[in-house]
Symmetry: C2
Amino acid sequence: MGKVFADISMSLDGFIAGPKPTLKEPLGRGGEQLHEWIVRLAAWRKPHGKPGGETGPDGNVMEESVSNTGAVIMGRRMFSGGEGSWENDPKADGWWGDNPPFHVPVFVLTKHAREKVNKKGGTSFTFVTDGIESALSQAKAAAGNKDISIAGGANTIQQFIRANLLDELQIHMVPVLLEGGTRLLENLGDTKLEKIRVIDSPLVTHLKFRIKK
Amino acid sequence: MGKVFADISMSLDGFIAGPKPTLKEPLGRGGEQLHEWIVRLAAWRKPHGKPGGETGPDGNVMEESVSNTGAVIMGRRMFSGGEGSWENDPKADGWWGDNPPFHVPVFVLTKHAREKVNKKGGTSFTFVTDGIESALSQAKAAAGNKDISIAGGANTIQQFIRANLLDELQIHMVPVLLEGGTRLLENLGDTKLEKIRVIDSPLVTHLKFRIKK
């Protein structure tokens, strides 16, 4: 049985996206800074079909998560954006393109039933309308012994933590201040964390926690 | 010329005190957890007149700051608390006792003029009514070549950062969630940080930043 984990970049002041996200700027104002450490990595470029890139501690951290992920769960807005999304256009596939970077089955939490979509490279999108526990049991069946990644957004990760369904949370803390946007660490009730690892590099500090049950 | 720095404990969700601080519980609900890593240290116990305590990486981090501090600046509430403070009783000396743990001149930002108070062990409290720049120039004169510690609270540290008067910020990040209280990293305009050091220990992660000017 794999674990259920979330890996997410967060600003030092606690935001996983800046203010006013749009389809063109999905991470909000200043939010792209949160991903600067990722997009230069070979471990990010490869699943996105791009050659080259950097290796090192940050790459190892990312590789470690990705290589053992057997299924992904995400919220509807992470699949398709906010305003003007596929809910108005049932054939639209969000912004992930023909060959999305997941390469495993993805389960999308949504209120809108929809046929499963199969993409190139092993990614499929299954739309789950009956809540996080159903998504988790479908993801577990798909993942076999591998891990389940709760990809986001904040609200989805918070739901899994509150329901006591998340085993590990890794925050990639980027030393920038966004001064507004979407917070990760709120609405968590009396969640207790156990810090299990910290890896620091020039661009980011990787803080890994076990959620106490 | 020493540097101007702030060293402060913060929860993973960004709070330096929990909700509803009182004179009896000055760090608010749950806030004492932020200081559990400190009060066990020899480097904390010694200036508080207590024997024993632990040594190690956390102690070294604290010792490093304290040993080169020549003067301290703090806000009025840090000196004397919130409700029922000395502003109603001009002879009260806050909660710092006869032999406060600073052992250097302390400059208190306040709207209420008051005579300087000399304490045992080298601590004095000077009350500054004309703003942070005046407090800083008085603190520099008192500190000589040593550093100036901006002790808090959040509002005072924010004022120094906004005025471009803080050189270094060290956050002692404690892996707890307070879910409310006083935030450190807000109202900072477009402040940019450069991460200069991370030291991790089981109870706390020490993140040191230079404020870019």
